[in-house]
Amino acid sequence: MTPYRIVEKAASLGLNIIAICDHNSVENVEVTKRLAKEKGINAIPGIEVTSFEEVHIVGLFRDISSALRIQDIVYDNLQPGENDVDAFGYQVVVNENDEVLGFNNRLLIGATNLSVSKVVETIHSFGGLAIASHIDREGFGIIGQLGFIPPELNLDALEISRNITIDEAKKRFGEYSRFPWITSSDAHELSNIGKVSTGLFMEHSTFDELCLTLKGAEGRKVILY
């Protein structure tokens, strides 16, 4: 899953927008965004933060600098520990030629000390979108971990994973239909990129248009298949 290969795969599938959401880190986003731009794809800078309660929350940002600032906060609040390459694999930082620039030794698979509401608040403070990851998954999904979505949590969207259909999701999570829903591949391997995707009926493939579309502003729509 190097930046180059991710972009090539996305381009071959005709995806217009992707988001790079590594666990608790943003170090491979800039290169991916640059490569994606050359292919006419908008790669949104993102991150998937693990809250203290082990809830995964995706943050999507307008620009790299906001994403990097969230990364600083996440790094400051990651629970201590070093990555174990046998247990969790190498955490590489890679350039556009698939060359390894370095390794991230932090325990990125671990949790931060940030509560889920603090994570959402922090994402919002940088103008980002806060999305509850894979709510249908028991492990690390907000409903699995907390039992419910706290009523005062201002999530911008809920993500349905590729593991269930939208119809099944509607049956199980109908009580949360007040939130916009999206679906994405959550690809941790190249072969999973584009397995599911969200249709966005909007003017341009931009972050700002995405924000408006999630709100349903002026005829824009989220289309789930």
């Binding site: 693990t50 520990g81 325990l107 671990g110």
Partner: protein, 113 residues
């Protein structure tokens, strides 16, 4: 005490790595947060949890835990079983809830060191 003794006393159903029940159990821990287990367990502990996804195997292996007891008759996911078998990590299932399993293990003399 050995894991086999615990399996016998608590009537646990062994799902994986049944050849590795001779491991010495040094203590026990109850938690469903992986980060908590990573921070607070020691090698040889038996881990009591309801989490069934494959990350539990990575954590148990990393911390050299003697085995995992799943409570409430929880069924491990297929990927979890596969990884556990590969790592020689016993996963055992009980119909009891965590509170009672912990109590029974405590009665057998198990402690957190």
């Amino acid at each position: 005490m050995k894991l086999q003794e615990i399996v016998d006393s608590l009537s646990l159903v062994v799902k994986t790595a049944s050849a590795h029940l001779t491991k010495e159990v040094t203590g026990g821990y109850v938690s469903d947060l992986l980060s908590d287990v990573m921070a607070n367990t020691k090698d040889g502990y038996v881990w009591i949890t309801l989490q069934t996804h494959q990350n539990i195997v990575a954590v148990a292996t990393l911390k050299e835990l003697s085995g995992i007891i799943l409570v409430n008759n929880r069924t491990p996911e297929p990927d979890t079983l596969k990884k556990a078998e590969e790592e020689g990590l016993p996963i055992m299932v009980s119909s009891l809830p965590a509170f009672e399993i912990a109590g029974l293990l405590y009665n057998l003399g198990l402690r957190c060191r």
